[in-house]
């Protein structure tokens, strides 16, 4: 189906290449997993297979890549529109409409489905990806996970022959993720599925073929079995940073505590999101919050950060037994948002990091967080995983007492997850209070932290 000959693609001169020196064949109805370190070029490879590169992107592509014996770009791009569908990594960038039903029907409308066919698909998919739970909401109000499910359902409704999925489970909660893998298992053999995913434990058993994009951009082919070296990418192992972090992270000299008592919240005109949430964290404590998408986890972090006020109940941040006014929380709190791009303000990575540049060790640490990255590049041009790591690094290096992380491991390979884990452990040792939202069970387990689940607005302890 796809014949990928030796090829090379470079976005611009001196930029990272993605290439292969081998012939790679992807057969019809094969299940192909693309994996490799974050920032290696996995999403670029998917864009090439869709024909977006070089059709809509600058850069030089040399070599032959064919789909059913024909090139993917030029006149063939339009011919393949219905056959090859591509789910972007950031689902919000695929939204067209403000309402969920119109967004769901959009792809089917483009391929001239009749109203009856669309109604049939609606019934099929409303329950399948739990689209029904947010059918009447605005698309701008959806969480990342809900948005991903909506776009995915809209694309799948037209029964494409080839599915290109770029981290389809990145923002899904464990239940939705398990359902999705179950669905993929059922789809296997019916469509050609090419998927980029970091949840190797779950996805690897489904794969007929594994393409590994190395850090140097080289694509190599592997069978379902990974070598020992490759297996290392699956496990979270202690990561030796090799730099004395005590020079970089300022320990908390004052005793800090965070307390939530009976916190309730709901958005205007909507049902209650958080109900009587109470918790207390003192210096060096780490708390992880799990839960289904769209149930108020990110809202809870915003309340803790003082960005929104609870409808009732109290949030108190104490420093040396002195209560801090919520308007001054920003001086004590570091917040890693789900969207890393909002963390960047300057033209280059170097400028972003200039506040710390007097420390030699910090530069080394940045080099570990962003391997093989030119610091004179724009942070906006990094891969999604690299952007996330940079935003985490910048936040962790701030002299704050409380850190809030919203999905810190999204889009990360296992080595990067191990690195993030190591940093969290160091922050803990320095007496920082940390709250994380994560769907990554292995990561949560590796932290040995208290884990809670947000169920029906209540925090319930998870064993």
């Amino acid at each position: 189906m796809f014949e990928i000959g030796p090829f090379e693609y470079q976005f611009k001169k001196n930029a990272k290449k993605i290439f292969t020196n081998h012939n790679i064949i992807i057969k019809e109805k094969e299940f192909v997993l693309i994996t490799g370190p974050s920032g290696a070029g996995k999403s670029t490879l998917l864009s090439i297979l869709k024909g977006i590169i070089p059709q809509f992107t600058s850069g030089k592509l040399s070599g032959e890549i064919h789909y059913k014996g024909k090139p993917l770009d030029g006149e063939y791009f339009n011919q393949n529109l219905k056959e090859i569908l591509y789910l972007f990594q950031n689902p919000f960038s695929q939204l067209i409409y403000p309402s969920v039903p119109e967004e769901f029907f959009f792809t089917m409308e483009n391929f001239n489905f009749t109203s009856e066919q669309m109604d049939q698909k609606k019934e099929e998919f409303k329950s399948h990806f739990d689209v029904e739970s947010f059918w009447h909401r605005k698309t701008s109000e959806l969480s990342h996970g809900e948005c991903q499910r909506l776009v995915l359902a809209s694309l799948l409704a037209i029964d494409p022959q080839v599915l290109l999925l770029d981290e389809p489970t990145a923002f899904l909660d464990p239940i939705a993720r398990a359902n999705f893998y179950e669905w993929l298992k059922n789809m296997k053999g019916l469509q050609t599925i090419i998927v980029v995913d970091h949840h190797l434990n779950e996805i690897l058993p489904l794969a007929d073929k594994v393409l590994i994009v190395g850090l140097n951009g080289e694509i190599s082919q592997s069978s379902q079995r990974l070598s020992d070296e490759q297996k290392k990418m699956i496990e979270i192992v202690p990561f030796d940073i090799g730099i004395p972090l005590k020079n970089l992270i300022v320990p908390c000299k004052e005793s800090v505590s965070l307390e939530l008592s009976q916190v309730c919240f709901h958005y205007l005109g909507q049902k209650s999101l958080l109900n009587e949430i109470s918790l207390k964290l003192t210096a060096g404590e780490v708390l992880v919050i799990k839960g289904v998408n769209g149930k108020g986890k990110s809202t809870l972090l915003k309340i803790i950060a003082g960005l929104i006020r609870p409808k009732s109940g109290k949030v108190s941040v104490m420093k040396n037994s002195k209560l801090i006014h919520y308007k001054n929380y920003f001086k004590e709190v570091g917040f890693v948002f789900q969207n890393p791009e909002s963390h960047f303000f300057y033209d280059t990575i170097e400028e972003e990091l200039k506040a710390f540049e007097n420390l030699e060790d910090f530069e080394k640490l940045s080099g570990i967080f962003l391997k093989d990255v030119d610091f004179l590049r724009s942070p906006f041009l990094l891969s999604e995983g690299e952007k996330r790591r940079l935003s985490i690094l910048m936040t962790m290096m701030m002299n704050k007492s409380i850190f809030l992380f919203d999905e810190p491991t999204f889009g990360q390979d296992q080595e990067s997850i191990s690195l993030i884990r190591e940093m969290i452990i160091h922050l803990k040792a320095m007496g920082k209070v940390q709250i994380l939202i994560s769907h990554d069970d292995k990561f949560i387990e590796s932290l040995s932290a208290s884990a809670f689940e947000l169920v029906e607005g209540h925090l319930e302890k998870v064993s």
Binding site: F56, L85, S93, Y97, N110, N112, T139, F335, F337, E341
Partner: protein, 243 residues
């Protein structure tokens, strides 16, 4: 039979047309009572289409603030004539009369411009124009994408502003909050355009919802047109129209 996308009292397309007609009328007609009556009629349509009283009050307080300014700091040529004492403060009657007239005019125009955005569903207007009036898809959809990204822009700008605060950016660099917003806008439009192409947008597409105007919409619109024409007649024969 295609379904309608929402249950509006009056179709958004007609709401847009009657808003534009009313604004033109307000600009050219000087008879204030006719203007008040016309805006009242428009208000009824807006109200039936879901306008909240809160927005009405916003417009009122905005206009009232201008009234207060005009009364407290009257123009030089209005500082003459009878003086009225109120809480031991002296006000010129001429300035109060002038400020009241200005407030009413401002209220009427502001009401239409500030509340129309809340009741008119522009997505429906664009799709109506595409489906029923031959607007080219390749003009309509990018416009739709741009309009619908406003909500995302607001959220992103809020995030960027908060991040600038958390990072404690130097004063001068506070201006750079617009840089990531600009990057977001460019990248969002690029990704949005790619999404339109990769999801197969083409001239032959079908539509699940009809977006059509119903007979009831037409009937209600005709009622408005009738009132509008009567008001034009009164204004023209009353000699208060500036052309």
């Amino acid at each position: 039979m295609k379904k309608t996308s929402s249950n509006e009292y009056l179709h958004s397309w007609y709401l847009l047309v009657l808003t534009i007609l009313s604004l033109i009328f307000l600009f050219i007609n000087q008879e204030i009572f006719l203007n008040i009556f016309l805006v009242f009629v428009v208000f009824c349509f807006y109200f039936k289409n879901g306008l909240s009283v809160k927005r009405f009050l916003y417009v009122f307080f905005f206009s009232f603030s201008i009234f207060l300014l005009s009364v407290i700091y009257p123009a030089k040529d209005l500082r003459s004539g009878e003086i009225i004492q109120f809480f031991n403060i002296a006000f010129y009657r001429t300035s109060i009369d002038h400020a009241a007239t200005s407030m009413v005019k401002l209220f009427l125009i502001s009401f239409l411009s500030m509340t129309s955005g809340a009741v008119i569903d522009y997505t429906k207007v664009v799709l109506y124009l595409i489906v029923h009036k031959g607007l080219k898809l390749f003009w309509g959809y990018p416009f739709l994408l741009a309009m619908n990204s406003i909500a995302l822009f607001k959220v992103e700008f809020e995030r960027i502003r908060i991040n600038a605060k958390f990072r404690n950016l130097p004063k001068l660099d506070q201006f750079s909050v617009f840089f990531p917003l600009l990057v977001f806008a460019i990248r969002h439009s690029q990704r949005g355009a790619l999404s339109l192409v990769t999801r197969g947008l083409n001239d032959q597409k079908s539509f699940y919802f009809s977006y059509a105007v119903s007979d009831l919409d037409k009937f209600r619109y005709k009622i408005f047109l009738l009132i509008f024409l009567i008001l034009i007649g009164i204004a023209v024969f009353g000699g208060k129209v500036i052309l």
